[in-house]
Symmetry: C5
Subunit: 400 residues, 5 copies
Amino acid sequence: MTPQTPSPALGPASEPANADGPAYSFTDREATLQARKQTETLGQRPGALVIREGALPPRLFLISYDEQTLTEQECLSYDELWASFQAHPELRHWIDVRGYGDLALMERLMHDFALHPLQMEDVLGDFQRAKVDVFDNNRLFLVSRMTDFTSDLEIDDDQLSIFTGPNYVLTFQDDYDDCLNSLRVRLRSNFSQIKRKSSLYLAYALSDVVIDHYFPTMAAIGDYIEGLEERIFSERRERRMLNRILRIKKDIVRFRRLVYPERDKISEILRLPEEVVPEDVKVFFKDLYDHAMQALDLAESYRENITSLTELFLSDQSNRMNEVMKVLTIISAIFIPLSFVAGVYGMNFQREAPPAGPNPLNMPELYSPWGYPGVLAFMTLMVAGQLYYFWRKGWLGKQR
Amino acid sequence: MTPQTPSPALGPASEPANADGPAYSFTDREATLQARKQTETLGQRPGALVIREGALPPRLFLISYDEQTLTEQECLSYDELWASFQAHPELRHWIDVRGYGDLALMERLMHDFALHPLQMEDVLGDFQRAKVDVFDNNRLFLVSRMTDFTSDLEIDDDQLSIFTGPNYVLTFQDDYDDCLNSLRVRLRSNFSQIKRKSSLYLAYALSDVVIDHYFPTMAAIGDYIEGLEERIFSERRERRMLNRILRIKKDIVRFRRLVYPERDKISEILRLPEEVVPEDVKVFFKDLYDHAMQALDLAESYRENITSLTELFLSDQSNRMNEVMKVLTIISAIFIPLSFVAGVYGMNFQREAPPAGPNPLNMPELYSPWGYPGVLAFMTLMVAGQLYYFWRKGWLGKQR
Amino acid sequence: MTPQTPSPALGPASEPANADGPAYSFTDREATLQARKQTETLGQRPGALVIREGALPPRLFLISYDEQTLTEQECLSYDELWASFQAHPELRHWIDVRGYGDLALMERLMHDFALHPLQMEDVLGDFQRAKVDVFDNNRLFLVSRMTDFTSDLEIDDDQLSIFTGPNYVLTFQDDYDDCLNSLRVRLRSNFSQIKRKSSLYLAYALSDVVIDHYFPTMAAIGDYIEGLEERIFSERRERRMLNRILRIKKDIVRFRRLVYPERDKISEILRLPEEVVPEDVKVFFKDLYDHAMQALDLAESYRENITSLTELFLSDQSNRMNEVMKVLTIISAIFIPLSFVAGVYGMNFQREAPPAGPNPLNMPELYSPWGYPGVLAFMTLMVAGQLYYFWRKGWLGKQR
Amino acid sequence: MTPQTPSPALGPASEPANADGPAYSFTDREATLQARKQTETLGQRPGALVIREGALPPRLFLISYDEQTLTEQECLSYDELWASFQAHPELRHWIDVRGYGDLALMERLMHDFALHPLQMEDVLGDFQRAKVDVFDNNRLFLVSRMTDFTSDLEIDDDQLSIFTGPNYVLTFQDDYDDCLNSLRVRLRSNFSQIKRKSSLYLAYALSDVVIDHYFPTMAAIGDYIEGLEERIFSERRERRMLNRILRIKKDIVRFRRLVYPERDKISEILRLPEEVVPEDVKVFFKDLYDHAMQALDLAESYRENITSLTELFLSDQSNRMNEVMKVLTIISAIFIPLSFVAGVYGMNFQREAPPAGPNPLNMPELYSPWGYPGVLAFMTLMVAGQLYYFWRKGWLGKQR
Amino acid sequence: MTPQTPSPALGPASEPANADGPAYSFTDREATLQARKQTETLGQRPGALVIREGALPPRLFLISYDEQTLTEQECLSYDELWASFQAHPELRHWIDVRGYGDLALMERLMHDFALHPLQMEDVLGDFQRAKVDVFDNNRLFLVSRMTDFTSDLEIDDDQLSIFTGPNYVLTFQDDYDDCLNSLRVRLRSNFSQIKRKSSLYLAYALSDVVIDHYFPTMAAIGDYIEGLEERIFSERRERRMLNRILRIKKDIVRFRRLVYPERDKISEILRLPEEVVPEDVKVFFKDLYDHAMQALDLAESYRENITSLTELFLSDQSNRMNEVMKVLTIISAIFIPLSFVAGVYGMNFQREAPPAGPNPLNMPELYSPWGYPGVLAFMTLMVAGQLYYFWRKGWLGKQR
């Protein structure tokens, strides 16, 4: 996950020809995946630590800082990290664990930082909704979900688990890339506010970066919706337009499912007592709450847009049928009566019925010198009359 | 933004011919724009002041008044404003900053009036939902959103940020025009209640003017909806009717998104303690609450109307198809059987098959003197019968 | 507004022929009207009294009573009313002001009965939602909305503003007619409970009459819906059926918008302290609450009915198209194959091609003596077969 | 109303032929009826007792019991009942009044059992939602609504009004039949728990029987829905299928409107203080609450089913149109080209134009000895090709 | 019920040919069944124990354990169980009763373990929503519903009733198979946490296993939905596709109805006082709450998917009609004009009308040597033009 969001609004233009396959599916595979993962741990003791297959080997990063200094290192072993951490009780530390693929290490972390097995299970499970727990009286366990809008139009979400301690913040994520680089850059700068504040403020700053990354995701979705709207009316509409609409709807629905708990988490933090979250940090969480609300407002807005889009699509579909019908009707209405006229003069009523003598009433037109031109003129008139009628009804132009 | 709302109900009549383009888009561009703006500030320290590109250079207005006097001036520099403000601690002041394009000035304002960086960020960010914060024990930070219904049928909204102080009110907006002129006129009048009341009352009066301006917006939307309803049934319906409906729906949805936080803001003010908002000012905010509720009631009402409009549109669409089908059916039903009759008498069954002798059963009608007139009479009868059938079914008139 | 509700269920039968015009509009003009009225007062000081154009000149009615006596008079001037009112502090008074068209009088009333300018503004504004305010510690300001279902199917609503005082009730309404006559009749009777109770009970009785008048409105709407349902299936359906449905839906939606605040008002009264509303009066308001709930229940029920009606209408519309298609299909399916057969025997393949000799394979049927009767018989068989097929499919009868 | 629910699932089979009339109406006549009833009492004093027209003359039943004994009688006069009741203050009594048609009697009951006129008005009004009132400190006034699903598919509901007293329970209902027989049978049994418990427990037992009778109503509705689902696909679908669906939907909506207040009533009872409802009776009301929730769950479930049913119906309707279109398309697509071919060989281009000489290019096919068989063979091939195409598209079989 | 969920995603492939019958019903039979069961007990005393017909004869299992030991036995009689239970007051016991078919046994259990008759009624009734009751001050009565997704796509749910006691947990279920085996396996293991904790923890562990089993059900539903989405577009769509969709929707709706009370149950447990549920057990219930929320999130997600699926289905249905129409239109539009041309040259206008002389204007084309080839060429051109027109409109390819 990188902070540079690829521009998926361009995506569809370059989609491969056989793109109607699963790529346009709108079923929530992430949901099914989660259900299946949960199924795998069936029958395990609550709080049992299980490393998922394919988990990356952990990398350990340590940033130690106070108001003046900052040292940043990747520790090659946990012992190294622990030594550095223990050596400087006067500094504040950000211990950043990326990748879960080492059970022994996870258990040592759990033990050394006094985490509850159920919390550790939430960390490794990797599909915990955003939440906050208070433990050990004044430590916080925060779960956030980092989102990214991938180039194939899926919302990719990763879990960021944050534990606070007196002079440290411990974070877990399952991937090496993340969206926290901007925060690291700020930390490195000389005048960063973070350095002057408590470790709780760092936890806030982490949550803030995560929520700020919801907006590029939203912007990408908004661009895509705008693109869809324009393409609905194009003469040669792409295939499976509705699939595309429904799929982006699924993304928005998923996004809301991710952000609602985030908002609830923050409002729970705002209700925590002064001893756990002091008033001067709450001011910042209040601001964060406003941001979460804005993200939700955007999501609601896009949801309305999708509903409009679907209505428009269905109306356009019905309109296209209408146009087909009009072509059929105009052509039939013009030529069927003409054919009838031609058919009349193709009848074989005999003027001369040899044995019985002449039947002058039988189709005298056929024998008139102006018969054929007369019929042709009559037919032309009929066509003109009908065309005028259809034109007046507005069937000849386009109408949507 | 001016208090004179242009009359958009007339708009569509004068729309350019190629108006089906983005002008009728119903995707919420404002939302996407906001998401993109938020994206730009990604990675910045919370409370960092950022001046958006294109921000206007600030203009500073100062209105100083007490019960008897009122002086009004545009200050050319902040120093001038500060001097005037400091020179008259016995007066009440309305300091009105329009345009954000000067970072140094903004920082001085923040410092001199003891604003929190997060508040200042909300001011400059320009997309804060309506809210109220209490700070410094009894000062208020109010955010309102001023709306305007533009001539191209968009709801334009600007942020009005209000800070109260012991003897002043400080407001920020990003545009030189605003909807507050009527308030200024009232202030200038000799007997204005505002002059006799606290600076908090001025903050109320500002919020009141903002909410009062929701009603012309609503009235314009109502007119437009009424116009749409009438045009749905016109014979030559305009193109992209549904787009127009969906677009005005988007406006209403946006309007609600703007006004709901406004209502919540006021009800939060009503719950503030007596020390912050005294009872005699609360009476006025209670009245304001009623106004906000009325605006929301109107919005809900219009939303229902839009739903009805959409249903009507879709039914009319289906009806038009029905009419096309009826034309096809009537013409086919009349002429196909006639053609068949003509076809029968166009068959070449031979009465005289030379070698074999006469076949008197073969199409004797063709040789009867009344054959042709008889067939024509029969055909006329058929047509008359069918027309009667269709007329009885009510297919010949219009029916909607 | 009169208590005799005209019977709108009969209305449509006598609608003029050109009734598709605005009479069937379902946009909420009342809403737009309100928005426009609110716009007019833009920029006025809150609490400024404004008399709307066209307001009727006020008429003043005074009913003074105690347990034994009752005097009723229309006062020709305010001085006369005030004198009568002041002369009998031992009686209870109902001062009934109808029509707002006299600013000076309104200001005197406001002053003499100690009303707040904001309250007076609510009275004159005439579009205040139902609400209750407590003022002067134990006086109540109640707003109710009186409804009427007019003969052109609109819900007409008027505002009734009620101020209570120690020994009087002061009411305002903008029209000379009202729905309170039944209450006056009860007052005049010798044994009326109202005479024995406090002035607050009179305020209750007024609210009760207003709510009781919701039911004739509901009954009229119910009758109209039932009529609509029956007419949907009539062979020659009226034009703009859906407009009618949507319009009555608008009425129901408006009705709910009027009654919900009424219910909230009463439940707020029930929560008022004993000093303001004594327990023995609350019993009556509790009963009133049940009535308001019943009115809302009815409105919800009708709303569901309207949804069903819309579904039925759309299904019937689709059904009518289906029937058109069936007629087309049956006629085409029968006659197109027949025409083909006739066409075959209209071909000119030559049995005798003079230079080349006889071609006995070329259409020998034409020369058979049974050719023509045979073909006719074959055609009859074809038709019979098809008719049987369509009958078995159930296409020949009606099916809905 | 009887406890034996007729089996309406069988109903439709035996419906009379002309059953499309009002019997299938889905408008809520009960609602309109109620509105009209309420209208009749317009202008009456709150608490005025009014006997509806057609009210049955009251019958008075008295069951007196203690742990050992039970006497049951129908009293022919109120004096007899009052004497029996007064004679045994040591027993518990269930006074059961059926029919309201005697105003004097009702007033005596109101007076003797110290009921409030508003309560009595609720009893006689007969359309009070389920509710509970506490009066006289510890007496309860309970209203329940008894439902029945009639053979013509309407939900019939009657009001059961229950007043508790120290040693008696007083019930009112407007009909002679009721659903309480099972309770009477239990009372008569020697070991009935009711006999050993307080009169409040009897009130509980009555409410319990009423709620238990919701389930046969629900079961009957469920059966009917299942029947509808099966019939949707039948080849010769009944007329007005959608009416039937919408009508059963109306029933479910009404049922919910009846049961929601019932649930709220019970949860209000559960919140009453220990003095009014002792804990050991609350246990039973808690169980009742679970039953009411189950009934609501069922109603929600059926509502979802009805939504599915409507979707299926509309899809099937569209499907039937599709099938009609397919028949038309297949026949047209086959025979129109064939007719064209026949038409070509019916043209009269002359091989020999006497004055000008032979035109050998003019339709030489007509003169070929294999012309006719060749054309027939070509036509057969065309038909075969098209049939193959339609079969491959899956248009020849049924598809839903 | 077994923990191995069959894979219903494969199901449809192997469905029997006549599978359109009730197997695809989407009415909620379980609901109707429940309503009917409730009807059967009509008129019974609350708390009366009734054994349903077909109830299995009870089997009694006893697991006794402390931190070191564990004995597991199936008791052949209740006396044996009671003896074993009484003999070891120092151990903790899990008494597991499967099958309800023995009224005397049930009554002994109720008496010996001091259960309330209403609770026992809930156990035997077998359709109690998930709930928690506190009784005897600190004992809990928990009801959970165990789900299973059967191979014929129904959600099968069974009730698990749990009573806690000082040193035992008593469970009831009506089937011999259950989903608790994984828990038994964990208990048998030497280091099980359960053995070290209170009996309340065992009750938690049981609830945990039940909720964990919701996830395989969800995963199976998710797989099925994904399968449905893929099959919607297949050329030869299966019959009754919509039935399948609606049926899986019914499953999801039922699932939510099962899980919502489960969540409420847990949140009620979390609000119980410390004496009833100690803090260290609450931590585990809090975790369980998260799991229930995840299950509900999944259900909401699938519900949205089903809505999308329905929209897609209906759009596809309309699309297929569109395609039928296009075939009809293309063939008609091509051949009807051609037939007209052929018809024209099949007219019999005479060039030579013997008595009157030559009519050279009558169809001279017929006598031109290039007449026939010319007409054929003209026809070919017409077809080419139309094909080009249709191709440009995009009607010749597929478009969805």
